[in-house]
Each structure stands twice: as structure tokens, then as C-alpha cells.
């Protein structure tokens, strides 16, 4: 199962900048639509397709909201 740290690594890699729990598309320059798609693709791969079933995920553009929804769906360790 994924961890919060792993999510931070995935997002950091996609936006090409180190992110933290306060990071979002509003304060990270590289968090554009291409980066957003990379995040979705990476999560899809690591959750074996489970994350793609979360409808709201595509619209979430902050580290906190992504982690919260993955926690709610039991896709990352609490």
C-alpha cells in the first residue's frame, strides 16, 4: 500500500519541484495540466487502476486534497 511520503515523491516528480503538504497548483509553478495528468497516471499505475475510479481525483490540485481522498478510499496507509 502507498504511503503519504510516496505521494509526495510522485507529485514532486510530476511537478519537477519538491512539494509538501501545503503545496498546490496555486503555489507550485510546474503544477500545470501536464503535471496533473502525470500525477493521475502515476497514481493509476501504483494503485493498479483503483485511483482512476475516484471521480473527483482529476480535479484535485493540492497535495492535501489528494492525500485526503486517497486516505478516504483506503489507498494509502493512515
Amino acid at each position: 500500500m502507498l504511503t503519504k511520503n510516496k505521494i509526495l515523491v510522485i507529485i514532486s516528480k510530476s511537478v519537477q519541484e519538491k512539494v509538501n503538504l501545503k503545496s498546490s497548483s496555486k503555489n507550485i509553478e510546474g503544477w500545470d495540466s501536464l503535471a496533473q495528468l502525470n500525477i493521475l497516471a502515476s497514481l493509476d499505475k501504483l494503485t493498479k487502476g483503483k485511483s482512476s475510479k475516484i471521480e473527483q481525483l482529476a480535479e484535485l490540485d493540492s497535495v492535501k486534497s489528494i492525500i485526503q481522498i486517497l486516505l478516504k478510499k483506503n489507498l494509502i496507509k493512515k
Binding site: Q16, E29, G30, D32, S33, L34, Q36, L37, L40, A41, D44, S51, S52, I54, E55, L57, A58, E59
Partner: protein
């Protein structure tokens, strides 16, 4: 070669004035990134469909010695590009005009074509073409065709041209046009999500897709389009 032009693009996107002209999109960013291998060795660079001049601005940070030629059909875009590049102190020539018309008799080492081409029916529902000219064909390839067919006159044996093909146009036909006029050296395809604002027109998009006028896929609960950057030279 990594010249870190992404960060420059993000900075200029914020700092430059694009009021009333085409705002830089992912296509411009992809063109900049894909041109990195050719910037340093190019002496004459044409920024076709320059808009506010963001492509030249990014390329200039990597090669200050080159001469840059910027043109756009929009006179306002040229005014804005001059204003945005005023402090750069580069060798810039600005001209307003359609396609290659302003550059009769010139040849260039590197041509970056940012003349956008998507289906006119998609352009009308998109957030990208406010107050700017659009491709008038439902296939979205008439501007590309014009650029590709005329490009040879403005290229020498070693010239490189970068062309973006967007899946919101008839990309198969677009590729055929490029292949029959130029020699493709490389091509890169990048996926990107369709803006949320356009998803409410899914029925129209679906109809266009069924008629092979555009292409996209649905994944992760969103519509994913793609842009292919073609790097080509004269046959």
C-alpha cells in the same frame, strides 16, 4: 540537452502582457522544450505566430547571439511582443503578416511554428481563441497545410522546422501533409487533459471524433487529448 526553459516559460507567462492576444498554452511550452537541441547552433530563428513573443524570450535566454525573426498575423500581437521583449536587448526583427508572407526571400536555421490548428468547431467552444484568428476548417489543418507547403522556400538544407499537431484536429491527415512535404526527423507526443470548461460539450466532441475530425481518449475520468511535436527538415 536541458536548458531549464520550463521555468523561464512559467516566469514569462506571468510577467508578459498578453491582453487581447493569444495567451501561451501548453503547445508553446512543448515547442520550446522540443527545440532545445537546435537553439544553440541556430543563427537565424523564425518565431512564426509569435503572439506576445514568449517562445523567442525563452530561446533568447539560451542563445543570445542568434538573430530572431518574429511574425504574427495580428498587429496587436506584434506590438505586445515588442513591448514584452523591450528589455532583452536582442537582435529581434518584428513583422506583421500572414504565414511566411513577411519573410519573402529569407531562409532560417530554425523555424518554430506556433500557428495553432484545431477544428473550428472545437475552437469555438474552447477558452483559447478569444479575439484571435482561428483555423476556419472543421478539420483544423488548413493553417498547418499553408505553413508546411510554404515552409520549403524559407529553409535551406540544414534548416529545422518544429510543427505542433493537436489531436483536436484531423491528426492523421495532418501527418500525411507533413510527410508528403518534409522529412520527419523526430516526433514526440504529449498527453494533456481537456479543460473542464469544455467537457460540457462532450456530445459535440464525440460527434467530431466519430467523424474522424478529432481524436481523444477517456481515462482517469477525464478527456485526454495529445499534442505531437514534429521535428522536420527539407526532403
Amino acid at each position: 540537452m536541458n536548458l531549464n526553459l520550463d521555468k523561464k516559460f512559467n516566469k514569462f507567462s506571468k510577467d508578459f502582457d498578453f491582453k487581447g492576444i493569444f495567451k501561451p498554452t501548453l503547445t508553446s511550452k512543448l515547442l520550446i522544450n522540443s527545440s532545445q537541441d537546435f537553439i544553440v547552433k541556430s543563427k537565424k530563428i523564425l518565431d512564426l505566430g509569435c503572439g506576445g513573443g514568449i517562445i523567442t524570450a525563452c530561446l533568447f535566454t539560451a542563445n543570445k547571439k542568434a538573430s530572431y525573426y518574429l511574425s504574427d498575423i495580428s498587429k496587436i500581437a506584434i506590438i505586445k511582443a515588442k513591448k514584452n521583449l523591450k528589455t532583452f536587448n536582442g537582435d529581434f526583427s518584428f513583422r506583421s503578416g500572414d504565414c511566411f508572407n513577411p519573410w519573402e526571400g529569407e531562409t532560417f536555421d530554425l523555424i518554430i511554428n506556433d500557428v495553432s490548428g484545431i477544428s473550428s468547431r472545437v475552437a469555438k467552444i474552447s477558452p483559447w481563441f478569444k479575439d484571435v484568428p482561428i483555423d476556419k476548417s472543421a478539420e483544423g489543418i488548413s493553417l498547418l497545410k499553408k505553413v508546411v507547403k510554404n515552409s520549403k522556400k524559407f529553409m535551406h538544407k540544414k534548416s529545422i522546422i518544429l510543427l505542433p499537431l493537436i489531436s483536436l484536429s484531423n491528426i492523421d491527415k495532418a501527418k500525411k501533409i507533413v510527410k508528403s512535404n518534409l522529412k520527419i526527423l523526430k516526433q514526440f507526443t504529449f498527453d494533456w487533459p481537456l479543460p473542464k470548461i469544455m467537457i460540457k460539450n462532450e456530445k459535440l466532441l464525440n460527434d467530431l471524433k466519430k467523424n474522424n475530425l478529432i481524436s481523444y481518449k477517456k481515462k482517469y475520468g477525464i478527456i485526454i487529448c495529445s499534442t505531437t511535436i514534429i521535428i522536420a527538415k527539407k526532403c
